[in-house]
């Protein structure tokens, strides 16, 4: 299981943007434009997901849970 087994695909970006990123990552921990782009995209996706709504529980499930929490002393 080596590096070669990691899966990658190609995405095109404008050459000017590529050059700009190349300059930006000089002297940082990023070793390639691909690494930086991957990082930024993951960050953007994560913040979008953050904005999505939290899941809700059914009333019945909630009541059952609260009952146990009260029995264990976690809730008054």
């Amino acid at each position: 299981m080596g590096e070669s087994e990691r899966k990658y695909t190609t995405v095109s970006i404008p050459v000017q943007l590529y050059e700009k990123i190349k300059q930006r990552i000089e002297g940082t921990g990023f070793t390639s434009v691909s690494d930086y782009v991957t990082y930024v995209l993951r960050e953007v996706l994560a913040s979008l997901e953050e904005e999505e709504k939290e899941e809700v529980f059914s009333k019945e499930e909630e009541e059952k849970v609260k009952e146990r929490l009260r029995a264990l002393g976690y809730l008054d």
């Binding site: 960050e43 953050e50 999505e52 529980f57």
Partner: protein, 384 residues
């Protein structure tokens, strides 16, 4: 707002009560695989969403992806393989193949069903090197890896019943903690991972973090540990005493995480953060040498690894070690205290342990007297 569970939703692989009896009756016809207590407990973690988004044991694609890229095949951050190892001879003897459903039992009790999707072999040296960054047989994780059987089974599980849990009253699942945090009015929650009874260094790390969030979730790991670690009941009683005497009642919750320590340092720090995200924490404390053992990892390596995960969905809070400073008259750390040498008293875990073994109470600058008293009330406070 509390974070969404890792992978987007809380996994629930618990078989509903009314279906259990029927499944148990039918399961007698199925091939059975005996599993360890550690595996049985982790089945429970999968079933109740503690390990969301995992729905079972990893198939080969996820396993390789986790080893190589520290992510599941779908790019979700995940750093510790969660696998089921079985001997080739067991598979041959019972004729188990991909596509079968088998029972997983511990001490004769059926814990869960497994839909076998994948059967594959793995290289123990590669596994150890990737997960623990060493193949040294003195590393407890390497020892465990070498003891594993040679085949791995992947697939979804259906949980039926758990093993005995002596700490039931401290056990909450993610649905419960999420509802609890909401009922307490907490919008931001910091998770604290520990395998130790608390000393003042821990307390000040927690309280410093708590200054900036609504609530503190103290979540000790309860399960197999190495020799010399505090016993589970000692950790819990010590924390109860600390909370009773020194914390605001509606600001701290103590509940356990039932899983074994892997001692995988940086990888385990990410794993621990993911679990706390599933419990509903927005923040996670990472101190010095998190989940480390010996000198296998650099002191702050477990903090540095978070740079690789901008999409983790939980915010790490990094701390340097806290210590008592005679000149500052209080608990400080090297970021805020200019003193050193004889002026500082670090709450050394090793020193505290040595004193407790000798039946002595550690200095009050290291450990709360009430906590020390509780620990000393146990005949054997440490794992032997």
């Amino acid at each position: 707002m509390l974070p969404r569970p890792h992978g987007g939703r809380l996994v629930n692989r618990v078989t509903p009560g009314k279906e259990k009896e029927a499944i148990l009756a039918e399961s007698k016809e199925l091939p059975n695989i005996n599993i360890s207590k550690d595996t049985a407990v982790d089945l429970e973690n999968i079933a109740y969403g503690v390990f969301s988004p995992l729905e079972g044991f990893m198939c080969q694609n996820d396993y390789i992806s986790v080893l190589e890229s520290l992510r599941l095949e779908d790019d979700t951050p995940w750093t510790i393989p969660v696998v089921l190892d079985v001997g080739r001879e067991v598979l041959t003897e019972k004729g188990i193949k991909a596509g079968d459903t088998v029972t997983l039992a511990h001490n004769g009790k059926v814990i869960a069903l497994l839909e076998v999707e994948d059967i594959y072999t793995f290289d123990k040296n590669v596994h150890a090197e990737k997960v623990f960054k060493t193949t040294d047989i003195n590393h407890p994780g390497v020892v465990k890896t070498r003891e594993m059987s040679n085949c791995l089974l992947g697939g979804k599980i259906s949980f039926i019943q758990g093993v005995e849990n002596p700490f039931e009253k401290y056990t909450l699942c993610p649905v419960e903690t999420r509802i609890l945090f909401r009922e307490l009015g907490w919008k931001t929650v910091v998770g604290f991972q520990t395998r130790n009874a608390p000393h003042l260094g821990h307390e000040y790390v927690q309280k410093t973090a708590l200054t900036f969030v609504d609530g503190l979730f103290i979540n000790p790991v309860i399960g197999r540990k190495k020799k010399g670690d505090f016993r589970d009941e000692v950790i819990l009683k010590a924390y109860e005493e600390l909370i009773r005497n020194y914390y605001l009642k509606d600001k701290a919750v103590l509940a356990i995480l039932r899983t074994e320590m892997r001692y995988a340092g940086p990888r385990e720090a990410i794993f621990h953060a993911i679990i706390r995200k599933n419990f509903g924490c927005t923040h996670f404390i990472v101190g010095r040498d998190h989940a480390g053992v010996g000198n296998y990892y650099k002191p702050y390596e477990a903090q540095e690894i978070f740079n690789e995960f901008p999409d983790l969905g939980i915010t790490p809070i990094f701390f340097k070690q806290f210590y008592y400073c005679r000149k500052c008259y209080g608990y400080v750390n090297e970021r805020i205290c200019p003193h050193n040498g004889d002026d500082i008293i670090p709450p050394s875990g090793t020193k505290i342990r040595e004193m407790l073994i000798q039946g002595k109470t550690p200095p009050k600058e290291m450990m709360r007297p009430e906590v020390a008293e509780i620990i000393l009330s146990f005949e054997k406070p440490f794992v032997e």
